[in-house]
């Protein structure tokens, strides 16, 4: 699936939730420094695959290797953005990032300040995150994911409830990050936003990788 050296390898990954098989033997590789758009209908297994790569879920069968390690051992090099914001609503953006920075052993505010500026928000904004608009919350969530400067970004529906302009700005930012050498796996239903930005389009269906193409039209989702 990749011409770049693989940074993430999934080998025959199976994930069962009771009798329901969310992933049915996914085997794939993701190359370093590439931008992957993961597409597919609801229930295709996109989020489950992302959660397993992030180390949040354990596969029922098979294995995932990130940078040659288990996902848990590679957690310092993974930035994860989920459907939910993963932020405390009662704290300001900077307070949130200050706390999450401590979890990565970062003691200064410089990283948080930089991450907030990268997503085009104001680090001095003292309003609690709960009072942010949905778009601002998504961008702050992205700031949290990039806070510790990870090599790999796992983004689950980052454009949901975001207006078109903000979504395009996020794509521009992600493209810059890809150019800076980061590997990006982005799950989305808004594939057209990524045309010209993503290097590969991975289409999933019924818990399996159906195809991986270089363009959106070839992925058959237009």
């Amino acid at each position: 699936m990749t011409d770049a050296p693989p940074i993430i390898t999934a080998t025959n990954v199976i994930k069962q939730f009771g009798r329901f098989a969310a992933l049915r033997g996914v085997s794939t590789e993701f190359g370093a420094g590439k931008f992957y758009a993961i597409l597919g209908d609801n229930g295709a297994g996109k989020t489950t695959l992302l959660r397993i790569i992030a180390g949040l879920a354990r596969p029922t069968g098979g294995c995932v290797s990130v940078l040659g390690m288990s996902p848990r051992d590679a957690c310092r090099e993974i930035g994860y953005m989920a459907h939910a914001s993963l932020l405390y609503d009662e704290m300001s953006g900077m307070e949130n990032l200050r706390y999450f920075a401590r979890l990565y052993g970062i003691d200064d505010d410089k990283h948080g300040d930089q991450a907030i500026r990268m997503v085009a928000l104001d680090p001095t904004l003292s309003r609690p995150v709960g009072q942010y608009s949905q778009g601002m919350r998504q961008r702050m969530s992205l700031a949290r994911a990039i806070l510790h400067d990870p090599k790999i970004l796992l983004l689950d529906e980052p454009f949901s409830n975001v207006d078109a302009q903000s979504a395009r700005e996020m794509v521009t930012l992600l493209t810059r990050m890809r150019d800076a050498g980061k590997t990006i796996l982005l799950v989305t239903h808004q594939a057209s936003l990524l045309e010209g930005a993503a290097n590969k389009f991975v289409r999933m269906g019924a818990g399996q990788v159906v195809e991986c193409t270089n363009s959106l039209s070839a992925a058959g989702t237009l």
Binding site: R72, D73, C75, R76, L86, L87, L103, G105
Partner: protein, 241 residues
């Protein structure tokens, strides 16, 4: 910065105590700040304890001697039920917006999170006890006939016994459908030895008839055993899907 994860045993052992301390302190500060802003747990606990004090004082009219015999039980049962209110809130905040996942994907050790939560609960429940104890003394006309200073170790050790198990079982019941019901069902049976120690120790000091030494040692042993067990098992609880 360490290149190890929070998941593996080797990685855990490599994390310096300074890092653990920093994360525990940061999480504790964050929790206290959030509680200070919302006052969710403190308000409910205070209201509940106040109701218990007033209702029981109106229901009974005990003599001073009778008060000394029953006060230990009343005080600790009131604090136990009030603590459950706080303990139920402990993890609820981490479920909103799935913030717990942000902790789980980080290299921060699970023990640091558990310790911060337990210390935060200890602080809140101790604050409640400090506010409510004078009211109990006034309403029940209490005066200790034994060495009153021993109430301090009993209070501290007893409170820790409640919160350490409560924090652990609140985490276990986190993903259950009726978690507010599950917590007391899990917590109360396992807290029986500690509650017995708290009540009997307090009664011994108030009446001055027996020494509370045995109960203090019992509480200390209970705390050491359950704190160790909770710290050892918490990683499994946090990783549960």
């Amino acid at each position: 910065m360490h290149k190890q994860s929070f998941g593996g045993g080797d990685a855990m052992s490599l994390l310096s105590s300074t890092t653990r301390g920093t994360i525990t302190r940061a999480t504790l500060t964050k929790d206290i700040r959030l509680e200070w802003r919302s006052k969710d747990a403190l308000n409910s606990m205070l209201f509940f304890s106040l109701l218990v004090v007033v209702i029981f004082s109106l229901s009974f009219d005990p003599l001073a001697e009778e008060s000394r015999r029953i006060a230990g039980g009343l005080v600790w049962v009131a604090f136990l039920f009030a603590a459950v209110v706080a303990l139920n809130q402990t993890w609820a905040r981490e479920l909103r917006n799935q913030v717990l996942d942000a902790y789980r994907v980080s290299p921060a050790p699970p023990n640091a999170l558990f310790m911060a939560k337990a210390l935060g609960n200890f602080f809140i429940v101790s604050l409640l006890e400090a506010l409510m104890t004078p009211l109990f003394i006034i309403f029940y006309n209490l005066r200790a006939l034994g060495p009153a200073w021993q109430l301090i170790p009993i209070g501290l050790l007893g409170t820790w016994a409640l919160v350490v198990n409560g924090t652990f079982f609140a985490a276990i019941s986190l993903r259950t459908r009726s978690r507010e019901l599950m917590l007391p069902l899990l917590l109360f049976p396992i807290s029986i030895p500690a509650v017995l120690g708290m009540v009997a120790g307090t009664t011994a000091i108030l009446t001055g008839e027996n020494s509370a030494h045995f109960w203090i040692v019992l509480l200390l042993t209970y705390d050491v055993v359950f704190t160790t067990a909770c710290l050892a098992l918490f990683e499994k609880v946090l990783e549960a899907e």
